[in-house]
Symmetry: D2
């Protein structure tokens, strides 16, 4: 059995259990597989147990991803003694039950966003994690981008002065086609919120990390395609959640902001970005060019001022752990490696780096407040 | 005396009277000076009379701009028999009185935006122009960009399907510096609205031309720098109007939109742009790259789809009247030539092309509605 | 008669005679029409005489452009007493004869590039102008771009250190289509050099202004489409000049450079640009975004370094004479206004700003050397 | 012992031996670690043996990268029975000896580029591999980019017509600073060629894959900084190889090309790119935005033509094995996963995908020909 060298003697390698093998499941598998090789200095891990249905798919994916054992029973995984960390990458409606079970079994939980379909469920999850004292991490992977971490450092160092305004957007086009068949994504009971839950919470995570908590907001939302054809020629079914949403927010700091979210924006594939307006400058970011950052500072000769396109590189940790020179670029899966690394470091006693259930709850309160403000056409105040 | 060949015999060249010689005054002077030389086929004009204060400045600018006569008395210009068109390019607070006087004298009026400080004044101006039957034009110059005209044609032809959503922004940084002294721009009685009146109405003009009238909206606004130093060391004075504003709008068509406006956005020099989200594609425009248009259409092989950057050229009339090949670019002053040309053609009996006082009033109702919605924190319905 | 107030009493306004009314003819007409109105402080001019064939076209264009008189006899224009400046915008093969006649008549000559079909002709023209003591200007309009002037200032101030390398390119696609009919552009006796004469000399003008004279070079060139269909179905005719050319140059300074030129580059409309590599930084320019300049300097915090996109503005004279704020953009025709203004100032006794025949000859020696090096497959040394 | 299920019964997992743990060593380790997890369907591998000096570094890196055993004796690794694939990521001067030894031991060899310091060594390596019948792969990782593979498919499908011209460049700035101390990179006996060997061969690999073999070329090169300070204050030492190089090439197909290479180009971090000029369109690529491809096609309405920016996605295999949606981006290390996967598939009997020693030799002949042409100032013909 692999051991980790702790202060008090050898420590067992952390056993990772993964539930789900879709986009995010694979992403988690790769992240834990690589965190130590890339970043170094982390507690050792074992890819211990993988769950999917049916069983033979679980077996096949375990072999591909390098997990030791496979199951089609997530409860067996959650209570397995060799599992220390439970990764939950299943559809949103299953997060709540799985996370509570994992917490009850004393496991650390790495859960994909959003935490749950409803705010009440998310609150219950955050409370349970706090009560149990386990470590948690929620998959807000974009905030682990070195470009974002650098933005945070610049903002904190006052490079662009006091933040006075924020613009944020997140757009994709996976629901832009009017002829796309109806899927579970359109059902409130399956998916919960639409564009807000799927995309909007990422935007909120970035904006709140940069500009602090949101105090109140007004909002609007719309379902662009009100019904969609059922896949088997059986007429059309209603789309129950929003295709797009937008909000005008006020931060506790006094800054204001504009957020815009769409899953029906043709041509946008992962356009998650922001502008941070400060009294001394501005920072602009776009995830579709995730290795770049644009910075304007009102310093020096006016004839030389402009937006500087900074290519992230070794100066922007932990970029250098991936490739030792700017321009060589990291990708989406590398962000998850950073996230997993941060979680492992935290489990080993390091500081909290990524959003745990409690911080994620703050983000998710905002998307639910946007939905509520849009439905009620009234300003919603957050606690 | 120059004559225009009309159907009923020779016609007198149109006499242009210009009030004001600042940025927009010069722009008008150049526009009328060049409209015929560039575009051809327009009624002949005379640069007849120019007004500024003091008188010697008027004389000097008349000589530079090629006007025949100069005065420091705008009322003399307005009632002058040789003047057929009055161009009003003075500070906003003077538009109302000057335009009413020009209309009363039976002149055609080419007025800079916004029409007036208050909506009531703007309404009075539009009514007076209608009653008098004179031609009017308001300086929404950006909608004369061939790139914009092409966007309109694409939208009308259904190239991007039904419009479902619009994003718009207009940002500059001329009030971004906290240490900038207080000027008349900060005074409600001098400037009226702040960023909304100066910049926001341009954005509204574009958005409404593309997506139709706005039905209702909610909004927020903020004064980033609440006071500014008085120029002569005499303490600080309050900034009375908004540095930034934003609105969530609903169009009569059912589409929704997000508008964001700032005069305190470091690094933005004339960032006036929009995204038009349709059911079949998207169009994106940014005035800082005014000779480009980005178009995404969901047609053909998915492996070849992406945003196409179209460089405006002779295929996008009247670009070819300026330069006969794409990539050679037109500039800001060229837009005013198109605007003046459209006005001259209209005076000669052609169709209304640019926004007259009545259409401008529609745009300006929106910016006042944004201000009202922000003040009242309530949804405002436009007629 | 209009008069210019000189030190020694009133001076006659300069009479402009224009030969040719195509793209460049119109551009010259607009330039002289506007130079004083835009830039101010220049000698007064009269749009005196315009020549084109047939006569009624000349009459029509004179009326549109605002010229007092029209002719179809360029020799009459050249010797006309009221003409002080002769603008030559006819096809390349006519420049030589017209310019010599104008010089012989004691006129100042503003000639489009290239000077002539052959180097011998160009040399004769430069010599004649020097002997006669008239002022000359050649239409290398891109070097009048405020972005280019700023680049020159930055280079001269050492902002990017010693220049060690230059990359330059100029590409258009007007001969990219294999099915395009044969025209005079393909005939050596009509057009002279192909892409080199039409486009390459612009690139050389910019590169030499920035990095100094070229000492020697090796080169290659190619005719992409060796024959083209005759317009009236009469078979195919040979293309006699090059569609693309490229050269590896050595500057007298010791720097090296790479130049690439094509008139068959699909999608490129006016892609004239360069990279200036210095020991402390780099400057990059692209005419298709002519109001922008990209600057990298190795100064300060590495984590903040990147290319800064500078939008030209009032800090980059004479941009502010056109529009008083960056982001509002000038266009191609505005560059000609600056060029005409520089010529008028020079005629009035100011310094030489644009390339006269002598400097143009330096540029054109380079394009002929490229052609010769390509033909001989040997290094060519320039004097 | 892990087994691979082949047709003829269980097959032993392939043992990977890695020599070197720098930038490329880590990159290889991650690539083999992940190839199967990401791409699936490949032969199983074992991370068997790792070599570096001193021994404790080897031990430490083996643990971090997940290799079973460590050594400081590369010969031991090369002849180890459990090693089937030898990855050579040491400095260039060591490739030759190591590769020959590995081949002699019957191992498959995955070697970083360039193959060797001299062409003679490279030829010897290619011959030895052919004679031994082992599989080889050279680390031209950029050609494994899905964006590049898509470019190849587009070119082969004739989407841009016949290729008539190619522009290529590769620039970095790691030797741009004049004050940088002298290192082994500047010594011919250590590094061999300078910018050509380090960067230029990558460019050649892309260009030749797209436009076919190069027939002849002329070239120039320069050492920008002729000496550099010795690290310990001991005066200055000569830089023996080139900082920049450029070539005008003629392809066997009749197309021409321009190549430019620099390691002293401030601000360029990994600017490896090309333009492919065809008779029907153009493709442009820049590695600094490696998830994008720009395509212009002369098809359809001229008013809608422009460069389309294609974001690579699942339509561009094997992108979808990493992330299932465009805009989510892959990074530099992912390219090596594709390369390692291609090598494993080839070892298992699949087709040759990446460049083996024989194809790499073709690329490297070109960079040596560039150097020779530059030295001799004469056209060099390739076989």
């Amino acid at each position: 059995m692999a051991l980790m060298r702790g202060e008090a003697g050898p420590v067992r390698a952390l056993g990772v259990g993964l539930i789900g093998t879709g986009f995010m499941g694979k992403c988690h598998a790769l992240a834990y597989r690589n965190a130590n090789a890339v970043l170094g200095g982390l507690p050792p891990i074992r890819l211990e147990f993988l769950c999917d249905v049916p069983h033979d798919k679980a077996t096949r994916m375990a072999e591909q991803f390098g997990f030791a054992r496979a199951t089609d029973d997530w409860r067996a995984l959650v209570r397995d003694d060799a599992v220390d960390i439970v990764c939950i990458t299943t559809p949103n409606r299953m997060h709540h039950e799985m996370a509570l079970a994992a917490i009850a079994a004393g496991k650390h939980v790495h859960c994909e966003k959003p935490l749950a379909l409803t705010l009440a469920q998310a609150e219950e999850m955050a409370q349970a994690a706090q009560d149990a004292g386990v470590c948690t991490m929620v998959g807000y992977n974009y905030i682990h981008n070195p470009a974002f971490a650098h933005t945070q450092r610049l903002v904190e160092a006052g490079e662009i002065g006091r933040i006075v305004h924020v613009r944020g957007w997140v757009d994709e086009d996976y629901q832009a086609d009017p002829d796309l068949p109806w899927t579970w994504r359109a059902a409130m009971a399956e998916a919960g919120l639409g564009a807000l839950g799927d995309l909007g919470c990422h935007l909120v995570s970035m904006v709140c990390r940069l500009a602090g908590p949101i105090d109140s907001l007004i909002a609007d939302m719309a379902t662009v395609h009100e019904t969609r054809p059922l896949p088997e020629g059986g007429g059309r079914q209603a789309v129950e959640n929003e295709d797009l949403a937008s909000a005008l927010v006020r931060f506790a700091s006094g800054a204001t902001g504009v957020l815009a979210i769409s899953r029906s924006a043709w041509g946008r594939k992962n356009r998650l970005g922001f502008e941070i307006h400060g009294t001394k400058g501005m920072i602009v970011f776009d995830q579709e060019r995730m290795n770049e950052l644009m910075l304007y500072r009102n310093v020096g000769d006016k004839a030389l001022q402009g937006f500087t396109t900074i290519l992230t590189g070794p100066e922007h940790a932990p970029f250098g752990a991936f490739v030792p020179a700017a321009g060589h670029q990291i990708g989406m899966n590398d962000l998850k490696i950073i996230e997993a690394g941060a979680f492992l470091a935290q489990i080993a006693g390091g500081p909290r780096a990524g959003p745990d259930f409690t911080e994620a709850l703050v983000f998710e309160r905002v998307i639910h407040a946007i939905a509520e403000a849009a439905r009620s056409d009234a300003r919603i105040h957050l606690a």
